[in-house]
Symmetry: C2
DNA sequence: TTGGCGTGCCTAATTTAATTAGGAGTGCCT
DNA sequence: AGGCACTCCTAATTAAATTAGGCACGCCAA
């Protein structure tokens, strides 16, 4: 009701603060993309923003706090991307699984810095805070459920349990993504030595696991 | 011929130098295992050896040179382990492939520090030297050939080419290993959420790709 | 309308790590 | 005996993270 056109001083401050934080995050991600996740450097961030280094401490209590914030940003954009992938279509079973794996690779190509921060953690001394980890586990759990739902719809042959199928799927997803980022980070989904394999691995799982007469004793 | 029981002064020096280098490498690997690959720290190495930090520069021109040496040590033990795995048995086809993937995971569990240095490189500023990379490519090539030989022996259905099968195998191998190290680094091959999946994924590939009547059109 | 306080920024200092400079001791070899 | 190579040391230097302390501005309550 009491919405005036101009912001209250408090709101203006708040907004400035948020913009500043966004700018820091953007500068940080730029550096991480250009020089590697572990090369983050407060001096360089400050220089990019035209500030003195200690001023950054107004916004983040330490470099690790900045990493933690980035970790959380990453968790959220990741979860959102995967949620969107789940909603974007109503197919079930293997099509859904393929869509899901594709979305994972797509997100990782678009956010290689966050992928490395979230899923290949090698920052000396950085451990996500408990809250960040909780958020991450939440996101992973959502993904797990979506994935299990898709695989359930695919009616697996009991050569694998649902959990095993899920974990193999996850390993394939991670392997393809990590190797794509290492080999052809500039190529989009569907191209490159590893980025082109998704339809094939989906087919592989489908053929190996579809319910029908057993083909081979162990 | 002129072999006396005692070493010549030159040999003694040489031996001392090699022992020193070994000791540095051991201390470095200890630190990497305990605190992460990127946490390597010359002061701590020196302290562990009872020296002053600058003395390490007698043996390595810089921290990066030490990383590079470790990278090369890693490449060699990796190649040796894989070669041994190839020789250790004369089975061909899927058994050989399974043996191979198992050896890969085994080596990675035994040398998690080297695995991260070689295959998940995120050390700020570290790029292996050209010579080290050449050695790495050689080792990877050997592995690739061995793997292709195994897969050829398995007589694949043409749903996948040999190269595609090989790359899917590699993605699975990397994914399982990375996830095993992230989730159950202390468990041996065969145990843990991901470490136990190898027989299943070999079966999966065998069933999906074995040559016999087509089971499904695309 | 004014004094106090929070906010945002700065400069200066401290600490830790990598690296360089320069020197001393030891033993080998000519 | 002199010179040199090798190994180690102490004392800088440099870069990065962080802390201390100060200044200015604007808001807000008395």
């Amino acid at each position: 009701m009491a919405e005036s056109k101009v912001l209250s001083p408090k709101q203006r401050r708040q907004r400035n603060r948020e913009e500043m934080i966004d700018a820091i995050v953007e500068a940080a991600r730029q550096i991480m993309r250009e020089q590697g996740v572990a090369a983050l450097n407060l001096n360089e961030i400050a220089r990019a923003l035209g500030m003195q280094t200690p001023s950054l401490y107004e916004y983040f209590a330490s470099k690790m706090a900045l990493y933690d914030y980035l970790f959380r940003v990453g968790t959220r954009t990741f979860r959102d991307a995967m949620t969107r992938a789940g909603e974007g279509q109503d197919s079930a079973g293997w099509d859904q699984a393929q869509h899901y794996m594709t979305a994972y690779l797509e997100w990782s190509i678009a956010n290689p810095d966050l992928f490395k921060l979230l899923f290949e953690r090698h920052i000396p001394g950085f451990t996500p805070s408990d809250e960040s980890m909780a958020e991450m586990y939440g996101a992973l759990d959502e993904g797990r459920q979506r994935l299990e739902a898709g695989l359930s719809a695919a009616r697996l042959d009991p050569v694998v349990t649902l959990e095993q199928a899920r974990d193999i799927f996850i390993a394939l997803q991670h392997g393809i993504t990590a190797l794509h980022l290492a080999n052809n980070p500039e190529l989009p989904v569907g191209q490159g030595r590893f980025g082109s394999l998704i339809p094939l691995v989906i087919d592989m799982m489908r053929i190996a696991w579809e319910k029908q007469t057993k083909r081979r004793g162990s």
